[in-house]
């Protein structure tokens, strides 16, 4: 399938994506490493934002950047880390001319709207609620391989994944009737989950989501609701 007009990454033709994973938790580093390896990615896992910047050669040291660091295709970072948060790391990466094009994904155990907004607005590709699943990694990998230039609404809209099995109060009851194809009343399950338009979790918005046929709870992109 031809993908028109994409910014074709230099990984084209190279099978393995190289992911830089940043997390201060031993347990989480081990898990993310395995998730990525099982998805045929090369992984470099570091324990802090500072280490990540060192690896990328962004720490201001004169030492030359390792060859490997130049080929990082994706950065996945935990949000809450001592010292430098994932958000601060994100900002530094986006400020760098060498690395700003690299997609950065934030991982966090906390499902906080304001935080998610902030990260996406700063340029994070996605905000994943922990624990990260294999399906998240697979989806990310596909997304990176296809390239960001692809105008794929579905991909862009799958920007935030909620914890289906943990946040049951947020979850749409999947009734036997099909999902409404047009946005409806505030009592519609789609609206209850339309966090894009509701700043406070307690106020269900009645404005329609932009893509009615969305799978549940899977979207958030600032520009979609900036109208």
């Amino acid at each position: 399938m031809a993908i028109a007009g994409e910014t074709y990454r230099s990984t084209a033709g190279c099978e393995e994506l190289h992911v830089l994973a940043v997390d201060d938790s031993f347990v989480d580093r081990k898990v993310i490493e395995r998730l990525l390896k099982i998805s045929s990615c090369k992984v470099t896992a570091v324990e802090s934002g500072t280490r990540a910047l060192q690896y990328l050669g962004l720490d201001g040291e004169e030492s030359s950047v390792g060859f490997d660091a130049l080929k990082v295709n994706l950065i996945m970072t935990d949000y809450s880390m001592p010292g430098m948060t994932g958000y601060e790391l994100l900002k530094k990466i986006k400020e760098s001319s060498a690395f700003r094009e690299i997609p950065v994904v934030i991982m966090s155990s906390e499902n906080i709207m304001a935080r998610i907004d902030r990260c996406l607005e700063e340029g994070a590709e996605e905000y994943l609620v922990k624990p990260v699943k294999l399906s998240d990694v697979k989806r990310l990998k596909d997304f990176i391989i296809k390239g960001e230039g692809e105008e794929n609404i579905r991909t862009k809209l799958n920007k935030r994944k909620l914890q289906d099995d943990r946040h049951e109060d947020n979850l749409l009851p999947v009734s036997s009737s099909s999902l409404p194809s047009t946005p409806v009343s505030p009592s519609s399950p789609l609206v209850a989950c339309d966090l894009a338009t509701s700043q406070s979790p307690s106020s269900p918005s009645s404005s329609p989501p932009s893509s009615p046929s969305l799978p549940v709870c899977l979207t958030k992109r600032p520009k979609l609701h900036s109208s």
Partner: protein, 151 residues
């Protein structure tokens, strides 16, 4: 019923009970899916890291809560970490205690914190025991020449 079948049955029943009783949640399944012939000890390794991490955090928590002037931010930070790692391995009951513990931190409720620390220790030792038993059953099954069933 031969030994292997019996052990297999035992393992499946035991594992199911852990899920039913809420000790483990789906994340544990997710971890098991990441284990294969090339990484046959993955789950044990991750869980061992969790044990180490938890013990360190529980000790730190006890220390901080012993102080004259309790640094609730520090308490919260430790509980947050424990919540994260327990969530990552699917230790649901531990994770849940962490969530309520954090509320006490926010409220600077010393008594509440002490109570939840105790509860946390309790839940942690329960799940540790359960998981160690589970791993033992798996070892027995493998030693008898069986394979671990896909749950």
């Amino acid at each position: 019923m031969d030994a292997v079948t019996q052990l297999q049955r035992q393992l499946v029943d035991y594992t199911n009970s852990l899920f039913l009783e809420g000790f483990l949640d789906d994340q544990f399944n997710q971890l098991q899916q990441l284990q294969d012939e090339s990484n046959p000890d993955f789950v044990v390794e991750v869980v061992s890291l969790f044990f180490q991490d938890s013990e360190r955090l529980l000790n730190e928590l006890a220390k901080v809560l012993e102080q004259q002037n309790i640094d609730f931010k520090k308490v919260d930070a430790h509980v947050h970490q424990l919540k994260g790692s327990s969530s990552s391995i699917g230790a649901q009951r531990v994770q849940r205690v962490c969530i309520t513990f954090r509320n006490c931190c926010e409220e600077k409720n010393i008594e509440g914190c002490l109570k939840y620390l105790q509860q946390l220790r309790h839940e942690y030792s329960l799940v540790k025991n359960k998981l160690e038993t589970l791993f033992k059953l798996e070892q027995q099954l493998l030693a008898a020449g069986g394979t671990i069933p896909l749950y």
